[in-house]
């Protein structure tokens, strides 16, 4: 049976909401295709002037020269305004139909499981600010609203707008499919029976992974109870039994050697310098000998960036509340994995999988040059030594 194009938990949009969401997508597209190139031209011009002094300009030097330029100021203001509008359009759409969505959550088939912890302590790097300007971030779950699925619904709705339809459409499963393609190509012998996704949000990647490995027991971990309630219902309505657990990827409560595969999808850049080695160590602890760790990240590396790429990364870090965005793109994942005890380490760009991958069509997808905008992802993967 073909997978349904739109899952039943996805908040529905009225005529006016569809117009509003279409507008914000068009605005983001305009900014990306008109304003980014204009600022790129200006930034590269400034970089050439600075380079005349002999050294590659630093981000601080670039920022200092750009900060009094109206184009730069307008670019930050309008790009952030569009981001805020995107979230607000999703929030309004979800709040209008919260009662219906909550009823849908209650009527979801009783498959999969959910374990939340009312005393869970949210990591500071998550709690400190609203990540990528999402009101309430991943974790907001106020007392007295313990059955809320709101953050999950808002995230799912906005994510389908954010990528402008280029990350697997409303199923938002391109990154999950890319993790599968990487596994097929680099670790073809692995037949995972126990799978963990760290930072699973609404389970969009995990649904794709479970469909690729139907015999596997799949668990998603995240910091947000509301996200996870929604995720469980979303998967259940799709007929996919997934287990969801609230927890911190730095220190989970899973026993040692529980999983054959541990992966994350665009999570690491939303953690911190301190958290990164701890997460690697935790992956090592919970993996069985011979098990595989895969971390998919944004398709950007600071050491390969031109001056404008750096300025854009700086925008994400400072103005879009992604405080570790730039740091994560500078991190040496191979060294971190080695330090945690891993072997068979790979780090590089992987072509994006445009649909569920098949094992005989993944050769050469990894190790390619970065093809840009949702056509590539950066992947760091490794294996825990066999006994």
């Amino acid at each position: 049976m073909p997978a349904p194009r739109i899952h039943p938990m996805m908040p529905l949009s009225t005529h006016d909401e569809t117009s509003e969401q279409g507008f914000v997508v068009a605005l983001k597209t305009f900014l990306y295709t008109q304003m980014d190139p204009a600022l790129r031209q200006m930034t590269l011009g400034i970089a050439r002037e600075l380079e005349a002094g002999g050294q590659k300009p630093t981000l601080q030097q670039l920022r200092k020269r750009l900060e009094d330029k109206q184009l730069y100021q307008n670019w930050i203001s309008s790009t952030r305004a569009a981001q805020e509008m995107m979230w607000q359009s999703a929030v309004d759409c979800v709040d209008r139909q919260r009662a219906e969505l909550e009823a849908l959550e209650r009527s979801a088939p009783p498959i999969g499981s959910l374990r939340v912890d009312p005393d869970f302590e949210v990591p500071r790097y998550i709690a400190a600010g609203d990540i990528h300007m999402m009101p309430g971030g991943y974790h907001y779950d106020p007392k007295g609203d313990e059955q809320s699925i709101r953050q999950g619904a808002v995230f799912d709705k906005a994510a389908s707008l954010y990528s402008l339809g280029r990350q697997g459409g409303q199923m938002n499963d391109m990154r999950g499919n890319t993790v599968i393609a990487h596994l097929y190509e680099i670790y073809p012998d692995l037949d995972p029976r126990q799978i963990l996704e760290m930072g699973c949000t609404v389970g969009n990647s995990l649904v794709a992974v479970k469909r690729a490995f139907p015999q596997a027991d799949c668990t998603g971990l995240d910091v947000g109870a509301s996200l996870l309630r929604y995720a469980r219902a979303r998967a259940a309505h799709l007929g996919v039994p997934l287990n969801f657990v609230q927890g911190n990827a730095e220190q989970t409560d899973f026993p040692d050697e529980s999983f054959d595969l541990v992966y994350s999808s665009a999570m690491l850049h939303e953690t911190s310098h301190k958290a990164l080695p701890r997460i690697m160590a935790e992956c090592f602890r919970v993996l069985k000998p011979g098990g595989v760790m895969i971390h998919l990240e944004v398709p950007f590396r600071a050491d390969m960036a031109d001056a404008f790429d750096l300025v854009r990364a700086d925008y994400e870090t400072r103005y879009n509340n992604e405080p570790f965005w730039l740091g994560a793109t500078e991190a040496d994942y191979a060294a971190l994995a080695q330090k945690a005890g891993f072997t068979d380490i790979h780090a590089g760009f992987n072509d994006a999988a445009m649909g569920p991958p098949s094992r005989d069509k993944v050769q050469g997808m990894f190790g390619q040059p970065n093809k840009g905008g949702y056509k590539s992802w950066y992947i760091a993967s490794a294996r825990k030594p066999r006994r």
């Binding site: 009225t14 005529h15 006016d16 117009s19 509003e20 279409g22 507008f23 914000v24 068009a26 605005l27 305009f30 008109q34 304003m35 204009a38 200006m42 900060e67 009094d68 330029k69 109206q70 184009l71 100021q73 307008n74 670019w75 930050i76 203001s77 309008s78 952030r80 305004a81 569009a82 805020e84 509008m85 359009s89 929030v91 309004d92 709040d95 209008r96 919260r98 400190a128 600010g129 609203d130 300007m133 009101p135 309430g136 971030g137 907001y140 106020p142 007295g144 709101r150 400072r318 103005y319 509340n321």
Partner: protein, 118 residues
């Protein structure tokens, strides 16, 4: 009035907005706020235009453009393309000064320099 005009969220469901939002360098925060409001207002105009578009298309098809009929109206491919073109034109028109800002400043600077030279 349309059946789907949205009410503000009720008190117990109101969530605070945007924890941590740093200021744009060199920009009066009130200007940043105003720019956000202009963008939102442009969005509201776009929504309104598409409601008008639904009215016109229903009327052209000899259907009564009642609030429910407008809410239920789903544009076909041609109508969607036409709507996208209207959105695009409006965004380009409204946002043009954002792109022209530095060119304008540069031109002014050059003009001042020429005045001095003269």
């Amino acid at each position: 009035m349309s059946a789907t005009v949205r009410a503000a969220p009720t008190g117990d469901r109101r969530y605070r907005i945007h924890k941590t939002r740093i200021e744009v360098p060199g920009v009066d925060p009130r200007v940043d706020t105003l720019l956000g409001m202009v963008m939102q207002l442009m969005s509201e105009v776009s929504v309104l235009r598409e409601r008008v578009d639904a009215h016109e298309r229903l009327a052209a098809a000899q259907q009564a453009p009642t609030p429910d009929a407008v809410d239920d109206y789903v544009p076909d491919e041609a109508a969607s393309r036409a709507r996208a073109a209207v959105r695009q034109r409006m965004i380009e028109k409204v946002c043009r000064p954002l792109l022209a800002a530095d060119e304008a400043a540069e031109a002014k600077q050059k003009a001042n320099g020429q005045d001095r030279d003269a």
